[in-house]
């Protein structure tokens, strides 16, 4: 049995030689290479995490901005020009007022009595 086993094992070991990994993978990395690798991993982790955080912050900022009341007033709507239909009521009223104020001028030449002085002797 032991002999059979060892004969079987030798066969097994013979097969093993065909499926062996390439030599470079079998070589243990040096400390410098390991360090470089770890550094690369750290950077990648940092950037990936930062990107996510950046996007999250942007989303939060957008949400806050949309709900904020700014002090800047909304632009006034452009007034619609009045249709050309003649003077409005307001214009007529202002003209009427103007006429009343003009007539109230105390310095306006009064309608004085007629200049009809006559020489009564004849």
């Amino acid at each position: 049995m032991a002999q059979q086993y060892s004969e079987d094992q030798s066969h097994a070991f013979e097969d093993q030689e065909q499926f062996q990994a390439p030599p470079e993978l079998l070589v243990e990395p040096t400390p410098e290479e390991l360090e470089k690798k770890n550094k690369r991993k750290r950077i990648l982790r940092l950037v990936g995490g930062g990107s996510t955080a950046f996007v999250v912050i942007i989303i939060i900022l957008m949400y806050v901005a949309s709900n904020m009341n700014t002090n800047t007033p909304a632009p006034e709507p452009t007034p619609t020009p009045l249709p050309a239909q003649g003077p409005s009521n307001l214009r007529k009223e202002l003209d009427r007022l103007q006429g009343i104020v003009d007539a109230a001028d105390p310095v306006l030449a009064p309608f004085s009595p007629p200049p009809v002085d006559m020489e009564v002797e004849f």
């Binding site: 006034e76 109230a104 309608f111 009809v116």
Partner: protein, 261 residues
């Protein structure tokens, strides 16, 4: 339908009435001017005939002079009559005049018109120099009363017009205030217009106080009651405040910008 037609015709009647009222004043003034022009020609003719009579005191020249004097006196009476007609129409049309004062002024004018009518009726029947001279002297003496009465009318009409103008400006201010509340949405613009209105009402109130003081002072009973002096004092005292009234009017026009009534 009947109600609408009635309202339409009533509005039309009122509009026609307003137009006719101002036309009546224009016509009265035109009549007065015509009579004044014909009186001046008649007076020049009378002076010419009088000079001829003074140079050559013939019966014919005296007759010519008397005829010219009668014509002159008739036209003179018509000048006064048309003048009082102008003041009568103006008194009716002046807005804001106290009804009791209007009645008083119209009553005085009508009395004077009766006197002038009598004078005009008398003249054609007088053909001699001396009675004609007496008639001329009598009516000439009335001129002082006519002058005083005319300045009384002018004084009251001017005071009424000034008061009416102040009241109309105040009323427009109130209407504008309400319109601003409804129409102006921008808070900053609303505040700006309201500040303007505060200035307006402040000036009007001050004007009102000054006007009441001036009126009280001028109407205080005095012995002479020379209305020509009262009228001139009124013009001197009110005219500086007229510039405030113009300022109020200009402010209201400015504040009205962008408002529709």
């Amino acid at each position: 339908m009947k109600v609408y037609l009635s309202v339409f015709f009533l509005a039309l009647f009122c509009a026609v009435g307003v137009v006719q009222a101002s036309q009546a004043l224009d016509k009265a003034k035109a009549d007065y001017q015509y009579q004044l022009d014909t009186y001046r020609s008649a007076y020049d003719e009378f002076l010419l005939k009088r000079t001829q009579f003074e140079n050559t005191s013939s019966f014919a020249n005296q007759e010519e002079m008397v005829k010219a004097a009668k014509d002159m006196l008739t036209r003179r009476a018509r000048v006064w009559k048309t003048y009082w007609q102008v003041l009568r129409v103006d008194t009716w049309e002046t807005e804001g005049l106290n009804p009791a004062m209007r009645d008083e002024l119209i009553g005085e004018i009508d009395e004077i018109q009766v006197l002038l009518n009598e004078h005009e009726i008398n003249i054609p029947g007088i053909n001699n120099r001396e009675p004609l001279l007496a008639e001329a002297i009598a009516i000439n003496l009335e001129d002082l009363r006519f002058e005083n009465s005319s300045y009384k009318v002018l004084f009251e009409l001017e005071m009424a017009r000034f008061d009416w103008a102040m009241r109309q400006l105040k009323e427009f201010h109130n209407t504008l205030d309400a319109a601003i509340e409804v129409q102006v949405r921008s808070n900053s613009e609303k505040q700006l217009k309201k500040r303007g209105l505060e200035e307006v009402i402040s000036i009007i109130n001050r004007l009102g106080e000054v006007y009441d003081e001036i009126g009280e002072d001028l109407r205080r009973p005095n012995k002479t009651r020379k209305y020509i002096k009262i009228y001139k004092n009124m013009v001197d005292e009110l005219s500086p405040y007229y510039s405030d009234m113009i300022r109020v009017n200009d402010l209201l026009v400015e504040i009205s910008e962008g408002i529709e009534l």
